[in-house]
């Protein structure tokens, strides 16, 4: 748990992991530089599909970042003793993943060199503009919260800080969802359900990431998670996954019901090729049904890697879901003349196609690499490993084995 | 920890020294004024304030639609473009020569045309 206790071999492994993560990050930065220099002509994005793979990565990281803070919030805001020892790790992951997501989205800008302009010119009517305020605010509030939590002198104040962080993260994810929800003319977006859907998605994705990281850290330190805690967390994850599924169903059912949206739904759910496959195979099967099965089958979930596998399924499903939502939503033609058969030199009335290029993928992976490296370093240098005193926990919270 | 400190000090030293070394070695920009005559302001003022003049003008023209201002990028080019290359960029180019020397990034020419007398093709299908 402490730096001094690590064996030589273990140290070597740690540095190798950090080096690998750093390399992936560096390659991502190189890819961004290449894109910046050549222009977006080297990407698969175009004037119809304007947001591509980097946005899938970035939005996953940003949404999961706010969700991963949930573990801390349950401890601080809802007073569940079991979650409090996990709050520092949850806060660290939130900061790191948000930073990584922002890195990807910033480096994908056409003029990434104008970051200062983005900071100094502010349009109050832009949802993006609101997010430019929400992101730094998240860093500040979560940073403050971590300080209250980890500095014994400041400990009395951690609850209000936790509440502030909880509220802020709800607003932040509302802002992220509203980037899409406020788009008036797009068939796939323009819906008020998107912001709450993003919030519940963030709960599921964030918890899945948290479970994986926690599992890795326990494994690294030859510890086993208390089965009671494990059961609690896996039930929570299952609930979140089911809730996301509920929102996704409502979103698609309303669309199917509206005649003006049926063509779009037919594209996503039936005729969209890779998009349809990703929806049913990626999101529904791997991202929802499989995790629910693994988490709730009485013979399976207690097995060592079941919860891990479920978490990985949730994350794979999340990427598929975002791909369907972001890319699929743009592949479907904009309805400029609703009742007409339309054709033009610019994909009007046609389903577009998108093949992401290597630099885009590498940039996205660079974000994952950054999150991984920063977490590894942070966890090792500071005391982020959940250090529960199980007996104390049991007396504080009698219904652990529910 | 001490290693980190040493590395930081070393890095800081490089940062501080590098510009000094560069200044010592870089040749002064050699500017040739291709069209001698009256600029819109004395050379000293232009050197110091051309960026402010252009920035204010650009915002007024772009956002308010005010045309015919005193400072204008296209007017700069028409006087200062090299007679051999036709441009304010390139080796010895009026803009680039100084900006390379001062290591200030030129952001204008990603969008603006740096060549003087670049033929404007006019409206296709209509003779002008």
């Amino acid at each position: 748990m402490h730096l001094e206790q690590h064996s030589r071999l273990e140290s070597g492994l740690f540095y190798a992991l950090v080096a690998a993560g750093g390399l992936v990050t560096a390659i991502g930065l190189g890819a961004a530089l290449f894109m910046e220099h050549s222009g977006h002509v080297v990407t698969g994005m175009n004037n119809q599909i304007v947001w591509g793979l980097p946005h899938v990565f970035a939005i996953f990281l940003i949404v999961a970042a706010s969700g991963v803070l949930n573990v801390a919030s349950i401890g601080s805001v809802f007073g569940k003793a079991m979650y409090k020892p996990r709050a520092p790790l949850s806060g660290l992951l939130a900061l790191v993943m948000l930073a990584a997501g922002l890195m990807v989205i910033m480096l994908d800008l056409g003029r990434a060199d104008r970051l200062v302009v983005a900071m100094t010119h502010f349009n109050p009517s832009s949802v993006f503009g609101w997010n430019v305020i929400l992101y730094p605010g998240f860093f500040a509030i979560v940073g403050l919260y971590l300080w209250m939590l980890m500095d014994r002198k400041m400990n009395p104040y951690y609850k209000p800080a936790g509440l502030a962080a909880f509220i802020w993260r709800l607003i932040l994810t509302t802002g992220t969802g509203s980037i899409f929800g406020f788009l008036v003319a797009r068939q796939a977006y323009q819906s008020a359900i998107i912001a709450p859907m993003f919030i519940i998605m963030s709960f599921a994705w964030g918890l899945a990431v948290f479970m994986l990281v926690q599992r890795a850290m326990y494994g690294w330190n030859d510890l086993t998670l208390d089965p009671a805690i494990r059961q609690r967390l896996k039930n929570l994850l299952g609930t979140f996954v089911a809730a996301v599924f509920y929102f996704v169903m409502i979103y698609h059912l309303t669309n199917i019901y509206f005649a003006k949206q049926t063509a779009f739904e037919a594209f996503i759910l039936l005729e969209g090729g890779i998009i349809t496959w990703m929806f049913w195979g990626g999101y529904v099967l791997i991202g929802t049904l499989l995790p629910l099965f693994l988490l709730y089958h009485p013979d399976i979930w207690p097995r060592p890697l079941a919860v891990c596998a479920a978490s990985i399924g949730v994350i794979v499903g999340a990427f598929c879901q975002l791909y369907v939502f972001i890319i699929g939503g743009q592949m479907f033609p904009l309805e400029i003349f609703p009742d007409m058969l339309v054709s033009s030199s610019f994909m009007d009335g046609q389903i577009d196609h998108y093949s992401p290029s290597m630099p885009e993928f590498l940039l996205g992976m660079g974000g994952i690499g950054l999150a991984f490296t920063a977490t590894a370093i942070g966890v090792r240098v500071l005391k982020f490993l959940p250090q529960d005193d199980i007996s104390k926990l049991k007396s504080a919270d009698g219904h652990l084995l529910d | 920890m001490t290693f980190m400190k040493q590395a930081l000090v070393g890095f800081a030293a490089v940062l501080l020294l590098a510009p000094a070394l560069a200044v010592a070695e870089a040749p002064k920009p050699a500017l040739k004024i291709e069209n001698p005559g009256q600029c819109i302001a004395p050379a000293e003022e232009m050197r110091r304030n051309h960026m402010e003049m252009l920035k204010h003008q650009r915002d007024r023209t772009m956002r308010q639609g005010i045309r015919g201002e005193k400072a204008s990028l296209n007017e700069c080019i028409s006087c200062h473009a090299s007679k051999s290359t036709g441009s304010v960029l390139g080796k010895g180019g009026f803009c680039q020569e100084c900006h390379s020397y001062a290591a200030v990034k030129l952001d204008c020419w990603d969008c603006h045309q740096p060549k003087a007398g670049q033929k404007h093709a006019g409206v296709a299908g209509v003779k002008e």
Partner: protein, 254 residues
């Protein structure tokens, strides 16, 4: 407001267009066009004097008569590309800039076909301006919607928001710009109503190039302008009128 030079310019423009229209009529092209042309140009042909800002008493607009717009004709697209220096080659056409494009429509109920040019509709309530994080997407006082490339960061949110797919993102470095029309890598761009020409009292390039005289440009706020008079007399539609964006571009015949 008008200095003598401007008036002379307008005079010469008028006589030029008159001649051109007469030639057009002589060739049997668009019998109705000549007279209308003459009025339109005199309306739009007022240059602002140097130092004068665009005013909100003016609202520039365009009326497109799709019954005159020929399927397969892309004179307006070519004129736009020439005027605005859109001359770069790019492998994937979807990555290239299209400030104006021709759309072919067919009504599946009755088989009726239309052809029309689609470009930035210069909304009074432009979604692109609402969503732009930096304020680079902007509407000038006289209703022309523009991108201030000096502060555009290339996020493409405006392209997501535009209901007309009217905006393009420059995907590669450019070198052959028209000096009057700066455009470059990493920024979003769209039809400017040829703002550099309009400010000089000229017509947008597409309007001038249309061989059928199907496009009318002018001040929607001036009841005496040709466009305002035709809009008062004749039926016209706004595309996706349900969005209530109050468009500067109006269509007839669809």
């Amino acid at each position: 407001m008008n200095d003598p030079q401007d008036r002379i310019d307008n005079q010469s423009r008028r006589s030029f267009v008159g001649t051109a229209a007469a030639v057009g009529a002589g060739l049997g092209v668009a019998a109705l066009a000549p007279g209308l042309h003459l009025i339109e140009v005199s309306q739009a042909g007022t240059a602002r004097s140097p130092g004068e800002a665009a005013s909100n008493t003016v609202r520039w607009g365009m009326l497109i008569d799709t019954t005159k717009c020929a399927s397969g004709c892309d004179a307006c697209v070519k004129a736009c590309n020439t005027e605005n220096g859109i001359n770069e080659t790019i492998k994937d056409a979807r990555q290239g800039s299209q400030w104006i494009r021709k759309i072919e429509l067919k009504d599946p109920k009755n088989g009726r076909e239309h052809s029309l040019p689609m470009m930035c509709q210069h909304c009074a309530n432009p979604p692109c301006v609402d969503v732009c994080p930096t304020g680079a997407s902007m509407k000038r006082a006289d209703g022309i919607v523009l991108v201030d490339r000096h502060i555009c960061i290339g996020c493409r949110y405006c392209m997501m928001a535009c209901p007309y797919k009217a905006r393009s993102f420059v995907h590669q470095p450019l070198t052959e710009q028209n000096p009057e029309v700066p455009r470059g890598i990493g920024c979003v761009e769209s039809c400017t109503f040829c703002v550099h020409r309009v400010d000089k009292g000229q017509m947008p390039a597409c309007v001038e190039a249309c061989p059928e005289g199907a496009m009318t440009f002018g001040d929607l706020n001036d009841p005496a302008s040709a466009i305002a008079q035709r809009l008062a007399r004749e039926p016209s539609t706004q595309v996706r009128a349900d969005l209530k964006l109050n468009l500067g571009v109006r269509y007839q015949g669809i």
